[in-house]
Amino acid sequence: MTDSAAELRAALDDSARAWLDKTLNQAAEHAKSSAATSGTASLDEASVEQQPAPALWELRFAEAGRRCGAAHADTARVLLLQAAQADLATVTRLYRQGTADERRAVLLSLPPLVHGPQALPLTEDALRTNDPRLVAAAVGPYAAEHLDAHGWRHAILKCLFIGVPVAAVAALRTRARGDAELARMLGDYAAERTAAGRPVPDDLHRVLGLTQAPGEGHAPCKES
């Protein structure tokens, strides 16, 4: 059992814990049986919408919020995705058919589940929304690793626009450092706010400071 599973179990009441154990088992069983049969998962539109009945654990994935409580829903869903070893087709389907809370869980579990950039369309979809819960989940480690420079800079601006604390942005310090284009965008945004008589968010100054702080004795910059 992983650390987060043990922690979550300890936080749940008896019936929620029993639900979690049973559901994680279903997900693990599914992972075993599909490891034996799959390898042909396709991502075309038809396969996403015209599924046969969803696997049992996928239905449980939807109900995690009311079984475990809203505060534990993200953790429970991420554990389920890991236990099922959900592949790209599965996370894509769950994202597309999911509520915002389900989509959050998919975004949060991307880094271990999908190794390459293939799940970027999900991150980009979340960044197009104006829902801070989704945007915050979309700027995690997966975006830090795979989002290109243009997309990443716009994600930072999006956070500032809709009030997502930049503390949610993974690898903010390393990716922002020395980014002159990001600094220009932030400066323009600050000027626009000031011209309109509106306050400039504190987070803007914080990120601007990071762009202008080359070597301060921190870890060496990895500019990609």
């Binding site: 939807a62 919020g65 505060a71 829903a73 829902d131 009030g163 949610a168």
Partner: protein, 284 residues
């Protein structure tokens, strides 16, 4: 005064309405899936709509301090269109979602065989998913429609105590009550019920199992009708407790049957930005 509007189509309303509703005491709404005025031509159009009822609309409501849940179904009008009926096969994947507190609106529009099939199938889905059902009673041939609805409910696997019959009036309330169902009344500016008739019905039948809604949508309607009924009740001598029972407790009990009602106020009072609140509520 706290108000729960158990039937309102907020997708068709503006943020001004949300503000006015909050100011009037509305803290929770249920938005039933229904038709959009313009007929849909494919199941995919329903899925985008359902996603909106589960995603964008509750998010929008939360910005104004109002808890938003929904009911999901193929509505009676579009149950007659073969281009739309495949939706029935996909409902299960929506009925497991946290924000769904009932199957609805189902029921009759023109009392066709296609409507019979859709109603029976969706009452079964409600039973399968341990959800209550919001059943719309027809606007034309209302009493006959009510009786046929009660027959189908009686034949279904769903307990009548898990059924809310909506758009009732003087001619249909008694049989609906005798059947053991919850009693819904839509108060509209010109059609359906008005405040004065609503109060008279409450005086006759009492507040037990009665729910009052604005059913506000894209037609001429008023999202503050719930508040107006509350005031009319007080003016007619009903107690604050009676008002609370009809406009809060009854909807909470009925939709609470789903086990999915979350009424913690979305946090308008804390003074933080709406966005900041949403973030905290979403967890880290």
């Amino acid at each position: 005064m706290r108000i729960f509007d158990p039937h309102i189509h907020m997708t068709s309303r503006t943020t001004d309405d949300y503000e006015a509703m909050y100011a009037a005491g509305v803290r929770a709404v249920v938005e039933p899936a229904f038709w959009l005025g313009q007929p849909r031509t494919s199941p995919a159009s329903f899925y985008d709509y359902f996603d909106g009822l589960l995603g964008w609309e509750p998010f929008r409501a939360a910005q104004y301090g109002i808890a938003h849940h929904c009911t999901i179904a193929l509505n009676p009008k579009e149950a007659n269109d073969p281009r739309c009926t495949p939706v029935l096969d996909q409902l299960s994947r929506y009925l497991v979602k946290d924000g769904v507190v009932a199957v609805g609106e189902i029921g009759y529009d023109s009392m066709t065989p296609a409507e019979d099939r859709a109603l029976a199938a969706q009452l079964q889905l409600a039973a399968d998913h341990e959800l209550p059902a919001l059943v719309h009673t027809p606007h034309r041939d209302k009493l006959a429609g009510l009786r046929r609805t009660l027959d189908v409910v009686a034949e279904s696997a769903l307990d009548p105590q898990w059924v809310l019959l909506d758009h009732l009036n003087e001619t249909t309330v008694k049989e609906a009550k005798d059947a053991g169902c919850w009693l819904g009344f839509s108060v509209y500016p010109d059609t359906k019920m008005d405040e004065v008739r609503m109060v008279a019905l409450l005086q006759t039948y009492g507040p037990e199992k009665v729910l009052v809604n604005s059913a506000a949508d894209w037609g001429r309607s008023d999202p503050l009708k719930t508040r107006k009924v509350a005031e009319a009740m007080l003016a007619a001598g009903f107690s604050e407790a009676d008002v609370d029972q009809v406009l809060w407790q009854n909807p909470v009990t009925f939709y609470g049957l789903s086990g999915r009602l979350v009424l913690d106020p979305p946090g308008k009072e804390t003074g933080a930005t709406h966005e900041g609140n949403s973030i905290r509520r979403g967890g880290e």
